[in-house]
């Protein structure tokens, strides 16, 4: 069964450093999303992406964040200058066109900012 994959599974970085989290969505999906989950809290929406541009973004997704689809298979989330409060699990999700409800999630990247 097709699945969303994410790399790395864990990332430790120093405050102020840039990180890039990578995702490979399900191949026939056209809508891509990033969510995050801070320890002990709810899953929160960051950004959605369709047709090579951002569709929606939350207030969390400030200028420190960016997304990119550099090729036909990868979808990345970049945090330019990480802060302590960026420590969280970051989940990528994708969905088929016309069936946005069924968003399929990857296993996540655990980011720890020291």
């Amino acid at each position: 069964e097709p699945e969303v994959t994410q790399t790395p599974s864990h990332q430790v970085t120093q405050m102020g450093q840039e990180v890039i989290l990578r995702c490979v969505p399900i191949s026939n999906h056209l809508y891509f999303y990033w969510y995050r989950q801070i320890l002990g809290q709810k899953v929160e929406f960051l950004v959605s992406f369709y047709n090579n541009e951002i569709s929606e973004k939350s207030e969390i997704f400030d200028d420190q964040f960016s997304v990119e689809r550099p090729d036909g298979s990868n979808f990345t989330l970049k945090i330019r200058s990480t802060k302590l409060e960026d420590s969280a699990m970051y989940f990528c999700a994708s969905s088929e066109p016309g069936r946005g409800t069924t968003q399929y999630f990857g296993p996540g990247t655990r980011l720890l900012v020291l």
Partner: protein, 113 residues
């Protein structure tokens, strides 16, 4: 699992019993509601969804009930198994297609063998 576990409501059930997990949603305009299961160290896994024009939908061993009057959603798991132990999240989606999911806090289900 530990990323979501610190202060969640917990439901403990005996193996073989039925489980009912409840969720109150916030947006009366939401048109889709979804239940996800999150096992330890994994991402949310889709279980079942329901449109706002329905009040019940059944899947394999699972049933979702929607009460729009009181903005309440429930997930019923029949004959609960040890493999059902996980954190369960409800999520809602605003109309418009491919809109972001808004997740609830989650409930930890523990199945006692």
């Amino acid at each position: 699992g530990e990323s979501v576990g610190l202060h969640l409501p917990t439901l403990s059930v005996q193996e073989g019993d039925n489980s009912i997990i409840n969720c109150a949603y916030s947006n009366s305009a939401s048109d889709y509601f979804i239940w996800y299961k999150q096992e330890s160290g994994k991402g949310p896994q889709f279980i079942i969804d329901i449109r706002s024009n329905m009040d019940k939908r059944q899947g394999q061993r699972v049933t979702v009930l929607l009460n729009k009057t009181v903005k309440h959603l429930s997930l019923q798991i029949a004959a609960t198994q040890p493999g059902d132990s996980a954190v369960y999240f409800c999520a809602e989606r605003s109309p418009g297609g491919n809109t972001p999911l808004v997740f609830g806090k989650g409930t930890r289900l523990s199945v006692i063998a």
